[in-house]
Each structure stands twice: as structure tokens, then as C-alpha cells.
Assembly symmetry: C2
Homo-oligomer: 115 residues x 2
């Protein structure tokens, strides 16, 4: 009984293992509008370290969410885009934006820190 | 320019400060179906410590997402439910469940750990 209940939670839990990580929802949000180069993502995410961005992109690529395309130019051009699986996350990101816009307008409605 | 871009990300970032915390999406999911007592949540969330559940519920109450009702009975009965603001998070949780159900069916599609 308890096991069945626990199994039923899995889709939310499993999705959270991916989108619950710091920066990941913001990377997906920035890629929804189209393919981006590493430097473009770094700038639009203002504050992420290159090491963390690189880690996040590798994970997302490994999970089939982000596609990495390499163009044999000089210097080499690398572009990141969302796969079909990644584009499926748009609904989650949009819902977060809607809720935040509606309910967290005032500064005092925002948690001070992610404890 | 960079500042404006950063400001535009805020709703997703701010929402993540709330729903990005471990257990929080699962607590909300369990309260969507109706009010629950502490022990009921503890059981349905299988694996959460009473201390963590208590912390999460206090935070959610502080942010106006969860309502805590105390009934003067012996022993005292305490029930937790979602406020209107909390019910607004249902769309995010539902989207996570939909995506997880569709894209993470196989065991090897689930990240091994939340690094």
C-alpha cells in the first residue's frame, strides 16, 4: 500500500531530479527561444560560473534534453538547443513564470534564501 | 540591457526558490487532493523526517501557500491545506507529472542522483 503510493509520486520526483537543480530551469528557459552558444547562455544567465554551466549542459545532453552541435569552423562553433524531450519542459517553465508573476510581485513574498 | 534580461528571468527564479526545495513539490501534490494531518503527510511522503516535514510546512505557511488549522480537541487536531496561492502551484506539479510520465518511463532515463 505504502509502496504503491510511493510509486505514484515518482513522475514528479523524477522530474524534480532534473529541473530541481539550480540554474537548470533558467538554462531551459533561455533555450526555448532558440539555439544558443555557450557565451550567450553565460551572459543571459548572469552569475553562473563557466564550470557550472558546462556541468549543467553536459548533464542535460546526457539526459537527452539538450542537443550539442559542433560546426567545423575556425574558431570552432558550438551551439546548444533543446531536443523534443527538452521542449516538453516548456510547460513547466511557463507555469513557474505564470505563478511567479501572479503571486510573487512584492519583494517580501520572495524567500530570503534557498535553505 | 543585461539587467533587463536578468529581471525578466525573475518569476522562474523566484518560483524555484519555493518549489525547487526537496520534498516541497511532493507536499504540495499531496495537499492538492485535500487537507491532511501531519501524520498523513509523513506517511504519504514515505522517507521524509518529521523535522524536515515540520520545517517545510512552516516555510510554506510563512509564504502563504499552506494554511494550518488547529482544532481544540483532545488530543489537539492540526490540519494542513493549500491556500488559493498554494492551489495555483497545481499547474506546475501537474506539468512535472505529465513530463515525467511521458519522458522518464525507463529506469535509465532517471538521473542517478541529484548532484
Amino acid at each position: 500500500m505504502v509502496k504503491a503510493k510511493h510509486e505514484s509520486c515518482c513522475p514528479v520526483e523524477k522530474t524534480m531530479l532534473i529541473v530541481g537543480k539550480r540554474w537548470t530551469p533558467l538554462i531551459i528557459r533561455d533555450l526555448v527561444s532558440g539555439k544558443k552558444r555557450f557565451g550567450e547562455l553565460e551572459r543571459s544567465l548572469g552569475g553562473i560560473s563557466p564550470k557550472t554551466l558546462s556541468q549543467r549542459l553536459s548533464e542535460l545532453e546526457e539526459w537527452g534534453i539538450v542537443n550539442r552541435e559542433i560546426f567545423a569552423e575556425v574558431p570552432v562553433r558550438v551551439e546548444y538547443s533543446l531536443t523534443e524531450k527538452g521542449l516538453g519542459l516548456k510547460q513547466i517553465i511557463d507555469s513557474m513564470a505564470d505563478w511567479g508573476n501572479h503571486w510573487l510581485k512584492e519583494a517580501n513574498e520572495i524567500p530570503a534564501a534557498n535553505k
